[in-house]
């Protein structure tokens, strides 16, 4: 795969490059700030962006959002220090497919690469653990019950496929039904679970352990 690296720390870029090249991927360019990352993406049209969130000039989430407007948008892997949903949800909303904790990069990067290449989301197991743990605790302390059981079997299927990164159209094809049917399912399940966008669907699925 043709990969573009963006991180303002050369020491991290060096580590990532050697990791990727060992696995046979090609690093087409390296960027040390957000604007450079956007410019190089337009220039090299890589298959994949690996973005640090904290970068000068433009942060990784903004870079992801801007590159998704390209004609053939690259897959985006976000590297972050934080396993907090404020970051994850914004990364997902900006079009990122994978969210990795920096501390686990060497183990998670290649699996993430593979997942994104096949159009599936990927989260560091550490992130998933934190999210699930946090979710369960909140359910307990608030005494809330999960509304997952309110979903129909078909809605659960649609939820999983959407969380895995399929578009409405892809889901319709796979389930052999019309696009409008899928759109209805999607709206219903979002309303039942109190979700507002695709990013939240993915986050919910991660928390529930539907995808990982």
């Amino acid at each position: 795969m043709r990969v573009l690296l963006a991180d303002d720390h050369s020491i991290v870029r060096r580590g990532l490059r050697s990791l990727l090249e060992e696995a046979g991927h090609v690093v087409v360019a390296e960027a040390a700030d957000g604007l450079e990352a956007v410019r190089l993406s337009e220039e090299h049209r890589p298959d994949l962006l690996i973005l640090d969130i904290g970068m000068p000039k433009l942060n990784g989430i903004e870079v992801a959002a801007r590159t998704q407007k390209l004609e053939r948008p690259p897959g985006v892997i976000i590297l972050s220090m934080h396993a907090d949903e404020s970051y994850i949800i914004r990364a997902l909303a900006a079009g990122a497919r994978a969210y990795l904790l920096k501390s686990a990069t060497d183990e998670d990067l290649l699996p993430a690469l593979r997942a994104v290449a096949s159009g599936k989301p990927f989260f560091s197991p550490a992130v998933t653990a934190v999210l699930v743990e946090d979710y369960v605790r909140r359910l307990q302390t608030r005494g809330l019950t999960d509304s997952f059981h309110l979903l129909t079997d078909r809605e659960k299927e649609v939820l999983q496929l959407l969380a895995e990164g399929r578009s409405n159209k892809e889901v319709a094809t796979q389930l052999n039904v019309g696009l409008s049917t899928i759109e209805t399912h999607r709206a219903n399940l979002m309303q039942k679970l109190g979700l507002h966008n695709t990013a939240e669907i993915v986050l919910y699925a991660v928390r529930k352990g539907i995808i990982a």
């Binding site: 991180d7 303002d8 720390h9 020491i11 991290v12 060096r14 580590g15 990532l16 050697s18 990791l19 060992e22 957000g34 640090d52 969130i53 904290g54 970068m55 000068p56 000039k57 433009l58 942060n59 990784g60 989430i61 903004e62 590297l79 972050s80 220090m81 934080h82 907090d84 949903e85 404020s86 970051y87 914004r90 920096k102 501390s103 686990a104 990069t105 060497d106 183990e107 743990e133 946090d134 605790r137 909140r138 302390t141 608030r142 005494g143």
Partner: protein
């Protein structure tokens, strides 16, 4: 030049008061004296006058009597007339004696009056022995030659005494008037002295008061300035602390964490490239990875604790949401956050203030008030920003002792932004900490900067 103002003022005012009282008493007694003198003078004059009048009337009446007698032909009534005349004479004697007592300075004249009177009365003595015929023939001559001239001379002396009496009255009155004038002058002088002294005391008092007032004004200004400086210093200290936290947090993110990331990747590479048989190195590398992971977590928690990167990356809502989740999972309490409004446009000072206030309040709730459920609301009401943190804990008084400084810190931050912090009890236990800030006037550059975030 330190002199006791109150002593000077007391002495001045006391002297003034004493002067007024003494002069009042003195002038009143003096006036009384003058009036008494005038009164006595008048009474004396009237007495003398009345006595003289009586004397004159006795003399005149006696003349009439004698005439009546001379005209009366009834001889047997002679003793009766003689007796009446004796009464007049006696009365006249008494009157002269009274005059002597009353009018000492004219003793000479009064004595000669007495002598003349004696002669006058003596003149009548032979008349009572007269026969009718004698009466008829001698009386006219007797009256004209004897009685009238003597009476005239008596009356002339009486007139003289009266005039002297009048003159005396006038003289005495003039004397009194002179004394009155002297008294008036004295009084006027005293009045002027009092007024001057009063003016002097008043001037000193006013001057001194002005000095004191100015001094106290200066003192107050100094105190206010000192307080203002202290507050400013505290604000600067807070701002510097916040800035330092931000820098430290960023430093941890940007450098320590990146080095750890690189280190972790290097360790991974060693692990992958090592000779498969070398189990000892494998174990050591695995141990190193664990250590790096722990260090990574420590650094991340430290950075977040110093200042959550979300506050600068995404704004107030993201930071509060993270913090509430963190407190909930760390302490096992139910924390609900309700935010209504766009708080991402808030300037950094406001974001920091609200964030730190909520942070401190939550710390109080879980550490000191032993709360189990906490409600945090952040709302915008037109031009006001309202923050409230309500818990179901044991109340605030017990919680306050240990954390007064933290709350004071919030209060300082809130005051700095012209806001108000209040603490109230909730019915059925629990406490509410409320903050109200005026919504900042929009400034172009207040847009949240999202250029940097932790990676």
């Amino acid at each position: 030049m330190r002199f006791r103002t109150w002593i000077v003022a007391a002495l001045g005012l006391g002297g003034l008061l004493l002067l007024i009282i003494v002069s009042m008493l003195a002038s009143s007694s003096k006036a009384q004296e003058i009036y008494t003198q005038l009164d006595q003078l008048n009474v004396h004059h009237q007495n003398v006058d009345a006595t003289l009048r009586r004397l004159r009337s006795d003399v005149n009446l006696s003349g009439i009597f004698v005439r009546d007698y001379l005209l009366d032909v009834a001889r047997e009534r002679a003793p009766e007339y003689r007796e009446s005349l004796a009464e007049f004479r006696q009365s006249n004697k008494t009157t002269v004696a009274e005059l002597l007592v009353l009018d000492e300075p004219q003793t000479g004249r009064i004595r000669s009056l007495g002598v003349q009177l004696d002669e006058y009365w003596q003149t009548f003595e032979p008349v009572f022995d007269w026969t009718i015929t004698e009466k008829i023939f001698r009386s006219a001559n007797f009256l004209r030659r004897e009685v009238v001239p003597r009476r005239e001379s008596v009356l002339a002396i009486a007139q003289e005494i009266e005039e002297l009496n009048n003159a005396n009255l006038a003289a005495q009155r003039a004397e009194v008037a002179r004394r009155q004038a002297v008294f008036r002058d004295d009084l006027r002088r005293l009045l002027w002295q009092t007024v001057l002294l009063g003016v002097a005391v008043a001037l000193v008092a006013v001057f001194r008061l002005r000095t004191l007032e100015r001094r106290s004004e200066e003192q107050r200004a100094i105190a206010q300035e000192a307080e203002r400086q202290m507050r400013q210093l505290a604000q600067e200290r807070d701002a510097a602390q916040e800035e330092e936290r931000k820098n430290l947090s960023r430093e941890l993110h940007d450098h320590v964490a990146q080095v750890l990331t690189a280190l972790r990747m290097e360790l991974g590479r060693i692990e992958r490239t090592r000779a498969p048989a070398d189990a000892r190195i494998g174990a050591a590398v695995a141990e190193c990875k664990t250590l790096v992971d722990n260090m990574f977590r420590t650094v991340r928690d430290l950075a977040l604790g110093l200042r959550p990167s979300m506050l600068d990356d995404f704004g107030l809502q993201a930071a509060l949401e993270w913090h509430v989740r963190d407190v909930a999972s760390r302490y096992g309490v139910n924390v609900q956050l309700h935010m209504d409004g766009d708080f991402d446009i808030l300037p950094d000072r406001y974001r920091t203030c609200v964030y730190r206030a909520v942070q401190e309040a939550l710390t109080n709730c879980v550490r000191h008030a032993k709360a189990r459920a906490i409600n945090v609301t952040v709302t915008r009401e037109s031009d006001q920003l309202d923050v409230s943190v309500t818990d179901d804990g044991v109340g605030f008084d017990s919680a306050r002792r240990g954390t007064g400084l933290g709350l004071r810190g919030i209060d300082e931050r809130v005051k700095e932004l012209h806001g108000v912090m209040t603490i109230g009890k909730v019915e059925g236990g629990g406490t509410t900490l409320a903050i109200r800030l005026p919504w900042p006037v929009p400034v172009r550059s207040t847009e949240v900067q999202r250029a940097r975030a932790a990676g």
